[in-house]
């Protein structure tokens, strides 16, 4: 295992210390239980927006805490959803009296832990709504399974909900923004290499030099199919087709196109991916009105990418363009 770390068990703690040193102007870090809150929170009358999940997906979620996005983030152990007491404490810390939205990625562990936290917070008199993102079309959805994973749309939903909360919308309205993003966004990912979970010390799966995994999530899980490596244009087609046909997206739709890096894939490749994804979107008559390109929801040092489409309306465009000031996403301020 080649990583720039000390001991595997210290990764999350030391990362949090680094974040605290680096971004003290934007965020405050609490330890035991671990969570990151806006330095200027809680904000009276503003809905608190919080998310959380396993570590190893940086900048998500801790890098998105700040004005116009999240009020708090709860980092679990690497790839392990945080515990209810983290989310409970974070919920209490950001509560400005207007209620708190939990943005939860659809994983059994995240759901159960967030549910427990919400129950506990409600018992303490805090109004809590939870919206579960589940945008990964690589997973066949069904009533009888865990459903689709929450992936790329989560980042976009956090931005939109943060902006809506900043406008002092009600808890229900901010949650509605999240539900809209959940309903209008779809993602698919692939990997060239596995990642290595620090305490495991070796790659989660073996992927030969000439093979790739299509339909991976963000936890080093093996994907749906393994196949020989292809030129990127063909890979992008394999990702875009199931995304576009899922909702489906229709000619004339205005979309945000998000090309995400998995952590080990450099920007030069992401632009080559964006190029093809943009052309395919155009061919389907989709109008790419906004984009995001970079490593925003990662899987440690995995090489790979995910593509997310989110159908936009006027309100979402305004929320997207609204100022945001976080360590990982910043504009307009």
């Amino acid at each position: 295992m080649k990583k720039l770390i000390n001991k595997p068990e210290d990764v999350v703690r030391e990362e949090l210390e680094g974040i605290a040193y680096a971004h003290g102007d934007l965020v405050k870090v609490h330890y035991d239980p671990n969570f990151i809150v806006r330095a200027d929170g809680p904000i009276k009358g503003k809905v608190g927006v919080i998310s959380g999940g396993g570590s190893g997906h940086e900048p998500m979620h801790g890098g998105f805490v700040g004005m116009g996005m999240l009020d708090a983030a709860c980092p679990g152990a690497v790839f392990t959803s945080p515990t209810p007491d983290q989310m409970l404490e974070a919920t209490k810390a950001v509560n400005g009296g207007a209620g708190v939205l939990h943005i939860v990625k659809n994983y059994t562990g995240d759901i159960m832990n967030f549910e427990m936290a919400a129950d506990l917070a409600r018992a303490e008199g805090i109004e809590v709504e939870a919206v579960v993102t589940d945008d990964d079309v690589a997973v066949k959805d069904s009533l009888y399974t865990a459903g689709r994973r929450g992936v790329g749309v989560t980042v976009l939903a956090e931005k939109l909900c943060g902006a809506a909360a900043e406008q002092r919308r009600s808890l229900k309205d901010v949650a509605d923004v999240c539900r809209k993003a959940k309903n209008l966004g779809r993602t698919m990912g692939m990997a060239l290499t596995s990642c290595t979970v620090p305490h495991v010390g070796k790659p989660t799966f073996d992927l030969p030099e000439d093979q790739m995994e299509i339909g991976i999530g963000i936890h080093g899980e093996p994907g749906r199919v393994r196949m020989p490596l292809k030129p990127v244009d063909e890979i992008v087609e394999m990702l875009m087709e199931p995304i576009i046909s899922d909702i489906p997206y229709k000619s004339g739709d205005e979309v945000l196109l998000f090309v995400n890096g998995m952590g080990g894939t450099p920007l030069v490749e992401l632009y080559i991916i964006y190029r093809k994804a943009y052309e395919i979107a155009n061919k389907h008559g989709l109008k790419v009105v906004r984009n995001l390109i970079g490593p925003y929801i990662t899987s440690l040092e995995m090489a790979g990418t995910s593509i997310t489409l989110l159908k936009m309306d006027d309100d979402m465009l305004k929320l997207w363009d609204a100022p945001v000031k976080t360590p990982g996403l910043r504009w307009g301020v």
């Binding site: 959803s81 159960m112 865990a146 989660t204 093996p222 749906r224």
Partner: protein, 212 residues
């Protein structure tokens, strides 16, 4: 004869030990169809439980189990945390105030633990989860009581049933938890949670061998 408070404590300690010993194994199983953390998660949780031991060693069995559950919930995370947390919380609720348990008390506690896991995780038998080890273990225990088996024999039968259930997860296609994302590719692998459940119940059979 019955399971005393000290027996209960010994079991929790034994579980912490067996989880630690098998941490890499459990994580390997999770790497194949999950996200390679089940062993590390459980080990972190039971280490925390061990640290709580001094505070609870003079308490009743219900308190011991509930504290174990609370500690797992606040230190494990993932699916394992809430599920095993609920498991021990429910077992604790059934055993509140008790300083010792009869075999029936234990069977009731375990059945209650199972319903807690079912309620929390909403998995069904055959979904390729810990439920597939826990359900047959509870059933075997109840049957053994009906058959008037001695405690050690009953616990052994229960652990064996858990083992068979665990092994039975191998051919299954997962419908709950992370492994479900793999679809057909999840078949051919043993479920990590079913495996930890077997280890936990087997630790009871081993630790309480002398009880009967």
């Amino acid at each position: 004869m019955s399971i005393t408070r000290d027996d209960a404590l010994a079991w929790i300690k034994a579980v912490a030990g067996v989880i630690n010993t098998n941490s890499t194994y459990l994580t390997q199983l999770d790497a194949a169809i999950g996200d390679a953390d089940h062993g590390a998660n459980m080990d972190r949780g039971f280490k925390a439980v061990l640290n709580k031991m001094p505070e609870i060693s003079d308490k009743d069995i219900g308190t011991i189990f509930k504290t174990t559950g609370m500690t797992l919930i606040s230190t494990v995370g993932g699916a394992g945390g809430p599920l095993y947390g609920t498991f021990f919380l429910q077992a604790g609720t059934k055993t509140v105030g008790k300083m010792e348990l009869s075999l029936s008390d234990w069977a009731e506690a375990l059945e209650s633990a199972l319903s807690g896991v079912l309620m929390r995780g909403k998995a069904e038998l055959g979904d390729k989860t810990m439920v597939d080890a826990l359900t047959p273990a509870v059933n075997a225990l109840k049957q053994a009581i009906k058959d008037n088996q001695p405690i050690n024999k009953a616990l052994g039968l229960s652990a064996e049933a858990a083992k068979a259930g665990m092994e039975g997860t191998i051919p299954l296609v997962a419908r709950k938890g992370r492994a479900s994302y793999l679809g057909e590719r999840s078949a051919g692998h043993q479920d990590p949670g079913a495996t930890s459940t077997y280890l936990i119940l087997n630790a009871a059979a081993e630790t309480w061998k002398e009880v009967a």
